[in-house]
């Protein structure tokens, strides 16, 4: 318990010496004099300074040092002195209360030094601690406390190298066995940033005085209340961090799921901002604010790409290019703005801060634009939820930020109203921003989960398709070569990443002639399972046709009839040749690159590929291979290998390559090293001299 009184000017008292009229007249006169004396005394009291605050018999409780404090803008070490005449009106001293900042008490947007002074008289209750301590809830931004001219405590660092924590809690300072004296507080407020309303500076709540134990208990209670009111913030941060970690791991496992990467960045930056400014960690104000800007910029960028992924806007290349450009601009402007926060800003820097803030505040409107574009595509319910909550959450953010910019000039208060809690749960305030932010997070988690599941299924189906096509391709390419009497045969097949449509078959002719072999080699235009299915059809048809004819032109015509109308705009280039053991080679060609005999292409008339016209007739060309002649068949994957710069392997390089009589594997390797784009198939036939033993060499990918 304590007894508080503020010392009043002396009062005049009545005298028993007077009576009757005289007494009455004297009384009236004295009353008039008394009133004059009182008004004079009151005037004198004003001139003398603030009333002394006496706190008597302070026991286990605490008492606020509220009421009027003497206040002066500027800085002078002499103002710590107890003997200073700080009377209101004298040398610029005035009175302010300690329950609200100086920005709301006639000093809007003032930043810099100021002093508060208060004459107090303290006396402990009987049996209570003789010592006192002081509890300051928050004084913006840094301060020093003097008791009777002696520095007894400080918070933060004063200029020239000012430093203080972001969102610091209450601080205490020991007053020792203080009794009667002047408490002087020297305060420095750093220059305003673009969103400051100007209604800040100095006290936000009156300091409290009490025994060291009582003040320690008050501090503990204050800290507990702070912790209690942030249960939701902590829970949200932990949940968001978990989502960020899981998304990142998910992305590491499947880099194509970019939505998971953006999700990780979005949640990660969210947690980052909470850690920086929401947990009272010992970060300096300027570091926290400076780092917060690019983190918030990153959060915005992640939200844009999440919306682009989830609202299926990814196929719009111009939109993607614009988004990357805007993302770059945002990162640059927020980083520069962050760097500005790290210094004590001059006026020019404050203007730059304002301009940069305008840039990234306008960029904040991009998310709502993406939402509107996405909604026009009629997304499913999960994506609609993301769109709606992203729109609302971002619009609230934009309105809040936009209205708070320059609010010290506009005096708009709506931004403050938006920050008021809609409701509280167990002391945890929930503002409109908190609610929509949570709804946005939950809807994104739900939509990303669905999106990832759809993508996984789609990718699985594509992989299965690819595996099926590869498997089919392997089955259709021979895994062993028959021996060709009189020839050394080599083959190589090198599939590209995407399954193409190369094929070749070596079919011994069984028409009673000895040593004749049919070679069928070609390429289906197109890729994937469709190409592999066409190859399957061709291989089956070629083998059947070979049972009835050994004439290459007839086999091609038969294949063309079977393929016509079945290739859906595609075609098949194909070479069929019959090789006799005496070196005679008959070739028919349907649009395929002509074979090379040594380093020259054989003359082969240009013909439409298979499957294009119904009744094509093909011509045959005959060549004779002499011992030592090198005959090469290949597909366009060899001819049209390309460097990353787009340079083609081409006919000239091919001619040079074949001059060296490479085997199939060597030729293939040359094209792969140049830049493989498509399947490559090469077949070489070398006529052997009499007595040489026929040989085969096959290079095929492992099954």
């Amino acid at each position: 318990m304590s007894k508080r009184n503020e010392t009043q000017p002396q009062e005049l008292s009545n005298s028993p010496l007077f009576s009757g009229w005289t007494r009455c007249i004297c009384t009236i006169g004295l009353l008039i004099l008394g009133m004059m004396a009182l008004s004079t005394a009151a005037f004198a009291g004003q001139k003398l300074g603030a009333p002394k605050l006496a706190i008597d018999s302070l026991g286990k409780g605490t008492a606020p040092l509220d009421g009027p404090w003497q206040f002066h803008l500027g800085d002078d070490p002499a103002w710590a002195s107890p003997s200073l005449d700080d009377a209101t009106g004298h040398s610029g001293w005035e009175q302010l209360t300690a329950d609200k900042p100086w920005g709301t008490q006639g000093h809007l947007a003032y930043a810099g030094y100021a002093w508060y002074r208060r004459h107090v008289n303290l006396s402990p209750a009987t049996g209570a601690s003789p010592e006192f301590a002081l509890l300051n809830q928050h004084i913006e931004d840094v301060y020093e406390i003097y008791w009777n001219g002696t520095l007894i405590g400080r918070y933060g660092e004063m200029p020239p190298n000012p430093s203080f924590r972001y969102g610091a809690g209450a601080q205490t300072v020991s007053l020792g066995q203080a009794r009667d004296g002047v408490l002087a507080i020297r305060v420095w407020k750093q220059p305003l940033v673009s969103f400051d309303s100007g209604e800040q500076g100095g006290f936000t709540a009156p300091p409290k005085v009490g025994s060291p134990e009582a003040i320690a208990a008050e501090l503990a209670t204050s800290n507990y209340k702070w912790l209690h009111a942030r249960q939701y913030t902590f829970a949200e941060a932990i949940f968001t961090a978990l989502v960020a970690i899981l998304s990142f791991i998910g992305w590491l496992r499947n880099r194509e799921q970019q939505v998971l990467l953006w999700m990780a960045v979005f949640c990660g930056s969210w947690v980052g901002s909470t850690v920086l400014v929401g947990l009272r960690l010992p970060f300096s104000f300027n570091f926290a604010l400076g780092t917060l800007q690019p983190i918030l910029g990153l959060r915005d960028i992640a939200l844009w790409f999440l919306l682009i992924e989830l609202l299926q806007l990814k196929d719009n290349r111009r939109l993607l290019r614009f988004t990357w450009a805007l993302a770059t601009l945002t990162i640059i402007s927020t980083s520069l703005d962050g760097l500005l926060s790290a210094v004590t800003m001059s006026f020019a820097e404050q203007v730059a801060d304002g301009v940069l803030t305008v840039i990234f505040t306008i960029a904040e409107l991009y998310a709502p634009v993406l939402v509107i574009m996405g909604l026009r595509r009629r997304p499913d319910h999960a994506r609609v939820m993301v769109a709606v909550f992203a729109f609302l959450s971002q619009m609230i953010f934009v309105v809040r930020i936009a209205l708070s910019q320059g609010s010290r000039f506009t005096h708009w208060k709506l931004a403050d109203k938006i920050d008021l809690p809609l409701f509280t749960i167990d002391g945890n305030p929930f503002t409109a921003s908190t609610v929509f932010r949570l709804l946005l997070l939950l809807s994104i988690v739900y939509a990303v989960f669905r999106h990832a599941r759809e993508e996984f299924r789609r990718q699985h189906a594509v992989e299965q398709d690819l595996l099926g096509a590869q498997e089919l391709q392997r089955v259709l390419i021979p895994d062993a070569l028959p021996s060709l009497p009189g020839f050394s045969l080599t083959s190589a097949y090198r599939p590209a990443q995407e399954v193409g449509g190369d094929f070749f078959q070596i079919i011994p002719v069984e028409d009673g002639s000895t040593g004749s072999t049919l070679v069928v080699l070609g390429d289906v235009s197109g890729k994937g399972l469709r190409a592999a299915m066409a190859v399957s059809l061709i291989v089956g048809a070629a083998r059947t046709l070979a049972d009835f004819s050994s004439r290459p032109a007839e086999i091609l015509a038969g294949l063309n009839r079977r393929l016509h109308g079945r290739l859906k705009g595609g075609f098949v280039t194909c070479l069929v040749l019959r090789l006799d053991s005496d070196g005679t080679c008959v070739v028919a060609n349907a649009g395929h690159p002509a074979p090379f005999l040594n380093h020259e292409e054989i003359a082969s008339p240009g013909m439409l590929p298979l499957g294009v016209t119904a009744n094509a007739i093909y011509e045959e060309t005959m060549v004779h291979l002499e011992p030592g002649d090198h005959f090469v068949l290949y597909t366009d994957g060899l001819l049209e290998a390309r460097t990353p710069a787009g340079e083609l392997f081409g006919f000239e390089r091919l001619q040079t390559l074949f001059t060296g009589h490479p085997n199939a594997e060597q030729a293939t390797e040359a094209a792969v090293n140049f830049g493989q784009q498509d399947d490559i198939t090469v077949l070489t036939l070398t006529r052997l001299a009499a007595g040489e033993e026929a040989s085969t060499q096959l290079v095929a990918p492992a099954a």
Partner: protein, 119 residues
């Protein structure tokens, strides 16, 4: 590889004095170019009787790209009312176009002036 085909259309006059429409292609041509190319060709006025396909700006044509032009040329050949010629192909693709028999349906010229005088 992502196709980046662009088609532009312009009017010209052959040396013989007849009107010619030139479709100029640029970029790579593959199966992904099919819609762009067919839309440009089918978008030609029915009265256009002479068409030049300009490949000067084309860097690469794969087999699926060639299939698109075979389709266009067969269509025109069936209708019998339109003459198509080609110019601007690199020597490599002139050879490839000849190999697949395209030259039986459209004359191949080295450049625009040769095409205009030949048409």
């Amino acid at each position: 590889m992502q196709a980046t085909t662009k088609v532009t259309q312009r009017a010209a006059t052959a040396d013989s004095g007849s009107a010619v429409t030139i479709l100029s292609f640029s970029g790579d041509i593959s199966s992904a170019s099919k819609e762009t190319i067919l839309a440009a060709y089918h978008g030609l006025d029915g009265s256009v009787s002479k068409v030049l396909l300009d490949f000067t700006g084309v860097e690469y044509i794969n087999s699926s790209g060639i299939a698109i032009f075979i389709q266009v040329l067969l269509e025109s050949s069936k209708s019998g009312s339109r003459t198509i010629a080609i110019f601007g192909l690199s020597p490599h693709f002139q050879k490839v176009f000849t190999m697949v028999g395209i030259n039986k349906y459209a004359a191949l010229y080295s450049d625009e002036s040769a095409a205009k005088s030949g048409l």
